[in-house]
Amino acid sequence: MRIALSWLKRYLPVSPYEAGLADHLTFAGIEVEGIEELKALGHTVVAAKVISAEPVPKTDHLKLCVVDIGATEYAEKDENNQIQVICGAPNCEAGMMAVLALPGTALKEITIAKAKIRGIHSHGMLCSERELGLSENHAGIIHLPEDTAIGTLADQLFSLPDTIFELEITPNRSDLLGYIGIARDLSARLGLALIPPEANALPAANSSLKLGLINEEPELCPRYTARVFENVKIQESPLWLKTALIKSGLRPVNNVVDITNFVMLELGHPLHAFDYDQLESRDIQQDYPDIVVRKAFANETLVTLDGKNMVLGDANLVIADGKKASALAGVMGSKHSGITGQTRNIVLESAAFHPGNIRRTSYNLKLSSDSSYRFERHLSARYAKEISDRAAGLIMLLADAKGMGELLDNYPKEEEEIILGVRTSRFEHLIGFPISAEKMRETLEKLGFCYLQDAQYKPGIVKDILNLQMASPLDDPRTIAQYYRIPGYRKDISREADILEELARLIGYDKVPKITLMQQIMDRHAYRIQKKAAEWMVSWGAYETLNYSFTDPAQMEALGFNESELPYIQLLNPQSMNQSVMRVSLIPQLLTNLAYNLNHAERDIRLFELGKVYHKTSSAHTEPKHLGAICTGRVYPEHFKKPSQLLDYSWAKGCFEGLLSSLGIVSSMSPYQTPYLAEGEAYAYFYQDIMLGFYGRVTARVLEAWGVDSTNLKQEVWLMNWLLDDIVEICRNLATTYTNIPKFPAVTRDLSFLLSDKYRYGEIQETILALDPALVQRVQVFDEYRTKQIPEGYRSLSLHIVLQDQEKTLTDERVDALMASVQKTLSQKYEITMR
């Protein structure tokens, strides 16, 4: 629904809240789908009189107009306050009042400048609604009422500036389908008093025109009111009314139709007007017409206002006269009974219809209207008279009716009233913060809920208010409820919970306190990485060990640790010397675990520990977590189909690097020197300059110190140690982002060559990748060998080179060119010999 701020202000003094109105609507539960700002047009857009309008020769539609702008300031107007303007609109004619935008005006779509058209000067533009930003209507220029004062600002005529809110009304809230409903909700939220629509005093009924009213379907039409107006003058509506409708998205038609639409938008309840003189009586003896509410006859036809031919049946409720259907009840009127320029007398309908019937009729006939949209959301029958009165007042005022008939009101069974109790204690229990009895009452009364009394709470709809147990000051306040009569327009309220929702919504969900159930004490990231790291080692076939936190300083010495570099924390009362310091490394104990298991005839051993080590620092101490592993033996468990193969540097490297890369860390390696790992066979890894850990082969000296006969072992022992806390911190800031899957296929080319031992594979790999980074996706070695045929000091390497273009399919030419460049570069830089 489109709501104009200028119109809303008739019912609520929202000016102080204008800036935040969209938020207030949103938090009141009314979704704002769009906001349209209608800008002020300024002093250069004014009402002007077209003095003359002569066709411009040799054009088919342009007119040269002389326009009177009155006192409006404009440098080039003549002594009669007149200027000339070229206009192309079909409805432009001498004598009319129009809206003129003078040169310099910035309109929504264009800025007006002085122009020369067909050699004629034009000082501005006569404007359509679209050009002023009022609507999409561009059929002609705006025709102002004849009595508009020349020079009146357009801003004043059209209430500009203005803001239009496009609102989405949920289907349960039929009461919000009019300005007054929106204003009512806002009044409760903002604590402002609602200004009811002005009531025009109605004259005593004085018409001699009579009308019969027969309601045959009280189930489908619980209330029908009709009122006759005599000798009305059908004409254009006043500008304020037309402007209001235009801004809310409706087209003005004539005063009577416009009034029914205005009241529909204002109060949310549709009305309909019939041409009295087109209605017939049921009984030929009767000299006045009838209104008959009935089901349509089988195959009864009706031509709608918009000219559609409908074939009806008994599923459709119609408003008929004595003979024929004059309207599809609540959906649309017929053409023959519509209000036209010739209409003299009218019948005004204000009624309530069964929402399901309206919905089915609208759905089955594929016919919907602003009226059916509202009725199918269930409107109360309670207010038909007040709504009729509001329209009647406007008809008397704006259509010069000479007479008005009695209100015929068919309302056989009064709509049931709903009385509910609501407790402040229940509000706090459900919503999470307290509400005072006064605040509750104030808010609900603003919504139109009628307070009755306090009494002991009884669940459900209260049938008889007199049977309630009265409240006394001695009662537990939790059992006391305020009782309200729910207004008829709130069809969505039938339980205490519904009222509590109203209160929460209008006081504001933003006021609901956040009560913490969880503190985020846990470092979930660290927990996950640690779990993944342990899982990594298990997936590489290792078993987890747990060792004491204290260790033997002699073992540290045997490793070659220097206590001055990594001081221990001493126990003051150790059980023995070999448990007398807190461990600074997991490695000595892993070596002990290795030796123990070798002594028990195990040969394939992979062990790891994930645990704390204890470091003394100058100020306090730290307890970082390490992941250490020790591995030796066959790569694959013994099996008749697999060759026996001992794990070596490439296994350890794969295991060590694999954990880092599976965590998304891009690291660099450099040789690592430590007394217990063989020189040249140990590497440390870094992320930027942060060390992540190291791996290397354990020296024979160390193995012997742990009682392992390294000569008889005949297999290498590899150690790995990750500094897990540092890895956890680095991962904390790494994010995975999706990249599009390449659309074009990759091409793999192979390259085999002899390489001198002067050079390393890594250099070759980097060089190839750098040649064309957009094209070369991957370089992978798949074979390495030395034979007698290959000269001493050389090896043969074979590589896969994977090429892919993100933009297009690779051509052979492009691939060949790249491979040639690879060969050339490698030959020059690394003296390779192709094979």
Partner: protein, 341 residues
């Protein structure tokens, strides 16, 4: 035309059966279903038939076509499968499969992670704290008197710098409540140290899980319920839990937690010393004195805490007779638990 059709189908059936490689299949397909096939020419000759005969014959043509198509597909798949099958080699399904190349977790880790999962699913968080603690967090803040025997060198390991190795994970209670206001709902698994000589039921290094819940309206009944849920998830739905009076300086009232014996089911056996119950650890409502030390209003907040011994749970769960086995790191022991997680 009808006879011709039947003859052709017979011929096709024979020829398809004779196909022995993918090439034969392609040729046969082209011959019987291709553009120049006899079948196709029969389609174009349909106009020679009368209007009455035409639909029936058309239908027949379609049926024959579908039949040939399915025969060719079937034969083609059979040929493909035959190329997979090991023709001459006898496949001895009793020879061993490739062995699973995977390690396993230490039984204490397995139990600890299972406890983590139980409590994480109950909405607890996991907190960690130092092993090397000061006397304040290990004793003073836990309301332990200055001359309490547990402070002796014979019970507690001390390290340089006036620190000690924590004797219980209850230190985490203090650490967490120093930094966070209630509501608090944590567990904290970790290492503890006591100056005990290793024997079947003691170890100088052991593992505990501490649980702490502090909020408005927490009572002993929350403790009971948490404990019962834990026992049932960890040991099975029929296991019962109970608490009975005990003394700890930092809880009031204090309790010992028992579960019904997982070996005999409560009827009495050697493991439960005929009592039907197994001791699980200490518990209780946080002593107001502890809250006072930490500046938490004990009139508004109440809480419960308990500590579980991980070694004890692992030994019960896996029927491990001697605690020392858990720290030998013998592969023959470790391998037994590879199926656990």
């Amino acid at each position: 035309m009808k006879d011709q059709l039947e003859l052709m189908l017979k011929e096709a059936e024979q020829e398809i059966a004779l196909c022995s490689n993918p090439n034969d299949i392609l040729n046969t397909k082209a011959k019987y279903l291709g553009k120049k096939s006899a079948l196709n020419s029969l389609y174009s000759r349909m106009k020679e038939l009368s209007a009455e005969e035409r639909p029936a014959f058309g239908n027949q043509l379609n049926l024959v076509r579908a039949r040939i198509e399915s025969l060719i597909t079937e034969r083609g798949n059979a040929i493909k499968e035959a190329s997979w099958a090991k023709k001459a080699v006898v496949f001895d399904s009793s020879m061993p499969g490739m062995p699973l190349d995977r390690g396993g977790y230490h039984p204490l880790s397995i139990v600890r992670r299972e406890i983590d999962e139980v409590f994480l699913s109950m909405g607890f968080e996991i907190a960690e704290a130092f092993d090397i603690e000061d006397e304040f967090h290990n004793f003073d803040a836990l309301n332990t008197p200055q001359d309490h025997p547990s402070r002796n060198l014979a019970d507690t390991f001390y390290v340089e710098g006036g620190k000690l190795l924590r004797t219980q994970t209850s230190t985490v209670q203090i650490r967490v409540m120093e930094s966070y206001k209630p509501p608090i709902r944590i567990i904290s698994p970790g290492r503890c140290y006591r100056n005990d000589k290793p024997d079947p039921s003691h170890s100088p290094v052991f593992h505990q899980v501490e649980a702490l819940v502090v909020d408005k309206g927490i009572s002993m009944s929350d403790l009971q319920d948490t404990l019962q849920n834990f026992a049932a998830i960890m040991f099975g739905p029929n296991v019962k839990s109970r608490i009975r009076p005990h003394f700890f300086p930092f809880t009031e009232p204090s309790a010992e937690m028992d579960i019904s014996c997982v070996v005999c089911g409560g009827s009495g056996c050697r493991v439960c010393k005929q009592s039907g119950w197994l001791e699980m650890g200490g518990a209780g409502m946080v002593d107001p004195a502890v809250f006072d030390i930490l500046g938490i209003d004990s009139e508004i907040y109440t809480g419960f805490a308990f500590g579980l011994g991980i070694e004890r749970i692992a030994m019960l769960k896996y029927n491990i007779p001697d605690m020392r086995i858990l720290f030998e790191n013998d592969l023959r022991m470790l391998r037994q638990f590879k199926g656990e997680m």
